[in-house]
Assembly symmetry: C3
């Protein structure tokens, strides 16, 4: 369908793994919100496939989520896993974080590439690559009636790693240097940046907020 | 536009009734949330037409909601009804539930059929049929800043009946047996399943939740 | 791309200004919700471009937001402005309101025109014009996990002015009288109506609510 950076099979398998891992985070949130089995499956599908669905609607492609049964089945597998094992899955939070970072790295690269193949400019492609990588998680939080965790100040940086990966991919395409090695490098950079953000609790800055500063001063004064 | 299972007029009339009933639930929620007249109309339109709009965006069809004035007018009629009569409408909750179940049964069948006509596979078509039937209600709750009632554990099963109807339709198409009688049967099955779910308070299972089990044990012990 | 009501450059510049102003309201909400810089940029992009994106997805056009870099950059400029100056921006609330009303007036006219160019009927075009004008603000509130302010009873009328402008545009197209002067007039009417609604605190009616009436009576009796 789009430029094969990796061998088709390898790429397909990586994508499926990425979808499963994203979907696990959706199913886990559903458990925490006390949703039923169907609610788990919906949040899993939305988290795993939502970003790619948005990308495909924008570029006018047949949504991969409805075109390939494999994509659709992955979130159901994630749901089954969480349904049976969820206290264990919560405990292996660290492993989930690592896979999630891998999904993030992969999707920001493939999202950018696919958008460019459909005729978008380089900047727009990178933006859509970013949206592919983070869109599913955002829809998950909106559906569960939570403030999207990616927008909150008090969470480790999640969007910036995806931005880095998408921008690298766009630059590589600009200079005709996108191939298996360099695209792996872009995905790996996003992946590593995300892991470092978790490890060192990197946060994005907030706007200079007069009122909250005042509040903090008060709190300190007392 | 798509395979005429029923005579065009009959199908069109049923669809309009389904939209009105879905829209009534949207307008009622708007009243409960203290929205103004415009808010009622928006929630009514979203609930009545949202599922079909999502389906049409995915399959790349001209959205029926913007193609046929009749579709657009139905939610406004629902809004006017609720605006004038809403305490009465709330009281006839039972009648609304029955019409809503009828809409659910109808839309899961027509949604699946239309998706298949536009080239989707059988499973994808059934999934999109399900999304057509339940999508509007979900968007209604998200817009009103509520947890989608379909995802909650403590509500009677709503998605499962639509799933049954959509799956039946897909199977009938698989074996070339979809005609007026069988598609009516599929819609009637979804309709009946939903009514039984309300009557006997059927609920979908939740994930086995160690912590909540412990909490319940504690509560019992005291 | 679509019927040039104004000279292309003038229209383009007005649109960019409208996007910036809409985007400022998004970035300001992000600050109030304590989002980080990325959260501000996302809310700004969604508010500035969301309505047009929805319109383009429905009519099947290449989304302008991903087609023209200028559109994409405007919300980032708004974000930078608010990031550095936000207490000042909050204070000049009045100026923001005026620009926002200008954006509202403009987008309900251009949204209606573009939808009609893509083959939608007059009523559908007006509805989509309305959605173009108010959609971004609605998505902003949904993403920030707030009840959309446009749906709430206790806010000054926002949708009605856009409706008036969209309806005027559709009527003008109906009678072949849409040109530079008349479309400016339609935009100006929407703009003025919105300013009057703010000035005189116009509100849309709510449904006759037996229970809340009773509550108010109680409150009065005490």
């Amino acid at each position: 369908m789009f430029q094969e950076l990796f061998t088709p099979t390898v790429q397909y398998v990586i994508e499926l793994v990425g979808i499963v891992v994203f979907a696990i985070s959706g199913a886990l949130l559903a458990v925490r919100k006390n949703f039923d089995l169907f609610g788990m499956a919906v949040l899993a599908e939305v988290t795993g496939l939502g970003g790619g669905l948005f990308r495909d609607l924008v570029i006018g492609a047949t949504p991969a989520a409805f075109d390939d049964l494999g994509y659709f089945l992955m979130p159901l597998i994630a749901t089954a896993l969480v349904f049976v094992l969820h206290p264990e899955v919560e405990r292996i939070n660290r492993a989930v974080n690592i896979f999630d970072a891998a999904g993030l790295g992969l999707f920001c690269v493939t999202g950018t590439t696919k958008a460019h193949e459909y005729g978008l400019g380089l900047t727009s492609s990178a933006v859509l690559g970013l949206a592919t990588a983070v869109g599913g998680g955002m829809m998950r939080d909106i559906m569960a009636n939570e403030v999207p965790s990616i927008l909150r100040w008090d969470r480790d940086m999640y969007a910036v790693p995806a931005m880095v990966g998408a921008a690298m991919t766009a630059l590589l395409m600009r200079f005709g240097a996108l191939d298996f090695v360099t695209s792996t490098l872009a995905a790996a950079t996003a992946f590593t940046t995300r892991l470092l953000a978790i490890r060192y609790r990197w946060r994005a800055p907030r706007a200079w907020n007069r009122r909250s500063t005042r509040t903090e001063e008060k709190a300190t004064a007392q």
